[in-house]
C-alpha cells in the first residue's frame, strides 16, 4: 500500500467527526471516497493533507509513518490536493500558480523564462496549450482545474487527492480530466477521487471506500459492487428491509397547482429539472449531494441567478423572480439549507429573528409597531412550541430544533402560499425532528404547499405525499402513493430512469 490510514479519530469541540475511519490506497490506483454530507470525508482528507491533525490512529505513507503538520509538509512528502473550490490565486499568472513554492532560480533571483517553460511543459503533459503568462482568472474553470493538477504533479506527487473535481466541469471537460487520471495511473501515481456522481466512480476508479457517520463502512473493488449497494451503504439503510410507509392519502386531497418548474436549466448544477407542487401537498425532492436540488429551489426563490432556459409558473402565471423579495411578495417562504450562514442572525433575539421578513408589514411610516410585533411573536412561539426563555432571548442560545422553529415561524407569519424547506431537519435531534415533521404536516393540511429538499430518504418517504428524484441536475423520477418507498427512491438516485426500475415514474415533461 502507498497510503494506509487506520483507526483515525478526530473530535471538534467534543463532537466526534471521525471515529474509526480507514483509507488504504495502492500505488497507481484510483480510489473513490464517498459518503453523505457529514460522513467525515472532508475531515479525513484534511488530516491526510496536513490541514488538521488526528487525535488517534496510525498513518503510513510510502513505507514511512505519516503525520503532516501543514499542507506544505504533506506536499513535500508527495501528497498533493486539488480542492473542490479551486484553491489557486486568480489574479496571478498561470506560471506562478504552477511554480510558486518551488521556483526556478538563477543567481538567487527568479528565472521567469525557465518557470514559463516549465509551466508550459507541465500543461502540455495534460494536453493543454495556453499562454501561461496571463492571469489564471482569464481562463475557464476546466483550465483552472488542469492548472491545479499541473501544480500537484509538479511537486512530484505520489498521491493526488481530488475533492469533487468535476462539480464545475461540463461533460467534455470531465472526459479530459478522466484521460489525465488514467495517464497518472499509468505513471504509477495514485489518485483519491471524491465525488457524488456514481457514473464517474465507475468510469475511472478501481476501488471504493464508503464512509458514514465518521467511520469507514465498506471497502470494495468498483466492479464488485452495485450502485444500489453503494447508495444504501452511504445512506445506512438496508435495501432489503426498508418498507413502504408512504403517506398516500394526502395526494388525493391536494388542490390546484401552486408552483410548476419545467425543463429548468441553470448550469452547471441544473440541467433539466421539472416538478410541480399543489396546494395542501408536501412534495419531496430527493437526490444525492450535488444532484442540483438546492440549486433548483433557489432559482424558484430568486436567490440565485435566473435560469438559462426552462419555465417557472406560480399560481398558473409565468414567474421568474430575480430577487428573493419578489418571491416573498408572491407568497413564497424559503428556509435555506444552512441555518447558521444564511438564516439566523445569532446576536439578535428570538423576537427580532422571527419578524425579520415581516418587518416591512409591521412598520407604520417607517416605525415598527412594537405592540403588533410582540403579539405576532407570542402567537407563533406558542403555536410552534418554541422552547425559549422568552422572546428576548438571543437565538444563538436556542437548540438547533428550536432555531428551526423560529425560522419556520418567520415565514409562516407572512402567511405564505408555498413554503420551500431545504434540509429542514439537518443537525436537529431526533425528538425535535419529529416535532418539526409533524408541524410541516399540519401546515400542509391547512392548505399550505410545501416543497421539501432532503437528503434523508426516510424523511421523504415518511413526510412527503409525492417526491421527485434528481440526479446530475435532471429530474429523473417522480414517485407517489405506494410507489414512494425507500427502495424506489434509492434505486432512482443510483440509476436514474434508464434502468427501467422506475419506468412508471418518469418525469412528466
Amino acid at each position: 500500500m502507498l497510503l494506509s490510514m487506520r483507526g483515525i479519530e478526530k473530535r471538534f469541540a467534543g463532537v466526534a467527526a471521525l471515529s474509526g475511519a480507514t483509507l488504504e490506497v495502492a500505488p497507481g490506483e484510483a480510489h473513490a471516497l464517498i459518503g453523505q454530507n457529514g460522513a467525515g470525508k472532508s475531515t479525513l482528507i484534511k488530516i491526510l493533507t496536513g490541514y488538521h491533525r488526528c487525535d488517534a490512529g496510525t498513518m503510513e505513507f510510502d513505507g514511512q509513518p505519516l503525520d503532516p503538520r501543514s499542507p506544505a509538509e504533506a506536499q513535500a512528502l508527495g501528497i498533493s490536493t486539488i480542492h473542490q473550490e479551486i484553491n489557486l490565486v486568480g489574479y496571478r499568472s498561470v506560471t506562478e500558480n504552477i511554480c510558486l513554492g518551488r521556483e526556478s532560480r538563477r543567481f538567487g533571483l527568479l528565472d521567469w523564462r525557465a518557470m514559463h517553460r516549465e509551466a508550459q511543459a507541465a500543461l502540455a503533459r495534460l494536453g493543454l496549450e495556453i499562454d501561461v503568462r496571463r492571469p489564471l482568472a482569464d481562463y475557464t474553470t476546466a483550465v483552472q482545474q488542469m492548472v491545479a493538477i499541473a501544480r500537484a504533479l509538479g511537486f512530484r506527487a505520489k498521491l493526488v487527492v481530488m475533492d469533487e473535481p468535476t462539480s464545475s466541469l461540463d461533460d467534455r471537460e470531465v472526459a479530459v480530466l478522466f484521460d489525465v487520471i488514467r495517464r497518472l495511473k499509468a505513471d504509477g501515481v495514485s489518485v483519491v477521487f471524491v465525488s457524488h456522481k456514481l457514473d464517474e466512480l465507475y468510469a475511472v476508479c478501481d476501488r471504493v471506500t464508503v464512509m458514514r457517520d465518521g467511520r469507514t463502512v465498506r471497502v470494495a473493488p468498483m466492479d464488485g459492487i452495485t450502485r444500489l449497494q453503494l447508495v444504501s451503504d452511504m445512506l445506512g439503510r438496508d435495501v432489503a428491509d426498508s418498507e413502504a410507509t408512504g403517506a398516500a392519502a394526502q395526494a388525493a386531497r391536494a388542490g390546484e397547482e401552486m408552483l410548476a418548474i419545467e425543463g429548468l436549466h441553470a448550469p452547471p448544477r441544473v440541467r433539466g429539472a421539472s416538478l410541480s407542487v399543489r396546494r395542501g401537498e408536501i412534495v419531496g425532492l430527493a437526490g444525492l449531494l450535488g444532484a442540483g436540488r438546492s440549486e433548483t429551489v433557489r432559482v424558484a426563490f430568486g436567490a440565485d441567478a435566473a435560469a438559462d432556459a426552462g419555465q417557472l409558473r406560480f399560481e398558473g402565471r409565468p414567474f421568474s423572480p430575480t430577487e428573493p423579495r419578489e418571491a416573498i411578495r408572491a407568497g413564497i417562504g424559503f428556509c435555506s439549507e444552512d441555518r447558521k450562514v444564511e438564516s439566523i442572525v445569532p446576536e439578535m433575539s428570538v423576537r427580532e429573528n422571527l419578524t425579520l421578513a415581516l418587518l416591512p408589514h409591521l412598520a407604520r411610516a417607517g416605525v415598527v409597531d412594537e405592540a403588533r410585533q410582540r403579539e405576532v411573536v407570542d402567537r407563533f412561539i406558542r403555536r410552534l412550541g418554541v422552547r425559549c426563555a422568552g422572546p428576548e432571548q438571543p437565538i444563538r442560545e436556542l437548540s438547533g430544533g428550536n432555531q428551526q422553529k423560529v425560522l419556520l415561524a418567520r415565514w409562516l407569519c407572512m402567511d405564505p402560499k408555498l413554503l420551500i424547506l431545504d434540509e429542514p431537519t439537518r443537525g436537529i435531534d431526533v425528538g425535535a425532528k419529529a416535532e418539526i415533521q409533524a408541524l410541516i404536516r399540519e401546515l400542509a393540511e391547512g392548505g399550505l404547499a410545501v416543497l421539501m429538499v432532503s437528503s434523508e430518504v426516510k424523511e421523504i418517504v415518511d413526510g412527503a405525499d409525492r417526491a421527485y428524484v434528481m440526479r446530475d441536475g435532471r429530474t429523473v423520477a417522480e414517485l407517489s402513493g405506494g410507489r414512494l418507498t425507500e427502495d424506489a427512491l434509492m434505486a432512482a438516485m443510483a440509476h436514474g430512469p434508464h434502468e427501467a426500475v422506475l419506468a412508471e415514474g418518469a418525469p412528466h415533461e
Binding site: L88, Y91, L100, W112, D138, T140
Partner: protein, 322 residues
C-alpha cells in the same frame, strides 16, 4: 484579450496622468523644470516614497498599515536624540524604532490573528504617544556636528541624498516583488490567503515580513525627516498613512490585495506630490489664489476616480472568466 488590454491601460493610466501634469507645469510655469524645483520636490517627497513603498507591500498582501506616520514621527525623535553620537547610531536608532513597531504589528496580525486595521490603528496611537513622551512635547533639535543632517540636506552628484535612498529602495523593492519567491508569495497571499496556505506557501512568515518592512521604511523616512528639517518632529506624520495609501492605490495596487506595482507606487507618489507643487506655482502666478487646503480636495478626488476605475477594471476581469 480585452481583459489584458484594459489591465495595461490601468497600469499606464498613472504614467499618462503624470506625463500630462509635467507637461502642463512645464508649459505654464517658467521655473517648473528648473533644477531647484525638481530637487526640492524630490528631496521632500522621498520621505513619502519610502513610506508608500512599505505600504504597497502591505496592501498587496491584503492588509493595511495605519501606523506609518506615527512611526516616522517616533523615528525622527529617536534619531534626533542620537544624532550627537554620530550618523550610524542615529540612523540605526530611528530605523530600529520603526522595525520594533513593525515587528509588533506583524506579530499581532499573524500570531495574534488581529485585524490589520485595528492592530495598526492601536500602534499608530501608541507610537504617536511615545514620540511625544520622548520629545517632551516639542521639537528635538539635531546635532550639526556629526554630519547627520547630510543624509537629509546633502547632495551626491548634485542629486539629493534622500532621493538616492528612495531610488535604491524602489529598485530593491521592484527586484523583491518580481524576482523573488517572497515577492510572488506577497501577491499570492493577497490574491487568496487560504489558497496560498493550501498551496504550501509560507503565508504567515510573508505577512509578518511585510509589516516589519513597512515599519523599517517608515523609520527610515523619519530619520530623513529629522535630518532634513534639523529636528525630530513628534507631531509630524499626521496623514502620511493616507498619503501612502492613496499613492499606492493610484499606482495600480488593488486595495484588496493580490495585484500591485512598485513602479506604479513611485509614480503615484510623484503624481500626488506634483499636485501640491503645481498649486504653489499657481498661487505664485497670482492669477488665482487657491488655499493649500485645496491640495487635499484634489488628491481626494483623484483617489476617488482611481478607485472607481479599479472597480470597473475588476468587474471586466471577472466577467470573462466565468
Amino acid at each position: 484579450m480585452g481583459a489584458t488590454l484594459s489591465r495595461l491601460a490601468g497600469r499606464q493610466a498613472v504614467l499618462l496622468a503624470l506625463a500630462a501634469l509635467i507637461l502642463f507645469g512645464a508649459l505654464r510655469y517658467e521655473h517648473f523644470l528648473g533644477w531647484f524645483n525638481i530637487t526640492t520636490l524630490l528631496r521632500y517627497n522621498a520621505l513619502f516614497a519610502l513610506v508608500a513603498l512599505g505600504m504597497a507591500f502591505v496592501i498587496m498582501t491584503g492588509g493595511i498599515d495605519l501606523s506609518v506616520g506615527s512611526v516616522a514621527a517616533l523615528a525622527s525623535v529617536v534619531s534626533a536624540h542620537l544624532s550627537g553620537a554620530g550618523l550610524l547610531p542615529a540612523v540605526a536608532g530611528g530605523v530600529g524604532a520603526g522595525l520594533a513597531v513593525g515587528l509588533l504589528n506583524g506579530a499581532l496580525v499573524t500570531r495574534g490573528g488581529l485585524a490589520p486595521f485595528v492592530t495598526t490603528l492601536a500602534t499608530m496611537l501608541g507610537a504617536s504617544g511615545l514620540a511625544l513622551l520622548l520629545a517632551d512635547n516639542q521639537s528635538v533639535p539635531v546635532s550639526y556636528d556629526t554630519g547627520f543632517v547630510e543624509i537629509g540636506q546633502g547632495d551626491i552628484l548634485n542629486f539629493p541624498v534622500p532621493a538616492w535612498i528612495a531610488l535604491l529602495a524602489y529598485i530593491g523593492g521592484a527586484v523583491l516583488l518580481h524576482l523573488t519567491g517572497f515577492g510572488r508569495t506577497v501577491l499570492a497571499v493577497g490574491g487568496n490567503a487560504d489558497a496560498a496556505r493550501l498551496m504550501g506557501l509560507p503565508a504567515e512568515r510573508t505577512v509578518f515580513l511585510v509589516y516589519l518592512g513597512s515599519g523599517g521604511l517608515a523609520g527610515l523616512a523619519g530619520v530623513l525627516l529629522a535630518a532634513q528639517f534639523g529636528a525630530g518632529q513628534p507631531i509630524e506624520g499626521v496623514g502620511w498613512e493616507l498619503f501612502a495609501i492613496a499613492a499606492t492605490v493610484v499606482g495600480g495596487t488593488l486595495l484588496t490585495g493580490g495585484v500591485g506595482s512598485v513602479g506604479g507606487t513611485l509614480a503615484g507618489v510623484l503624481l500626488l506630490g506634483l499636485i501640491f507643487n503645481i498649486l504653489n506655482f499657481e498661487n505664485g502666478l497670482g492669477t488665482i489664489s487657491l488655499s493649500v487646503y485645496w491640495q487635499s480636495v484634489i488628491r481626494g478626488l483623484f483617489l476617488l476616480v482611481v478607485v472607481l476605475l479599479q472597480a470597473r477594471l475588476l468587474a471586466a476581469r471577472i466577467a470573462p472568466a466565468s
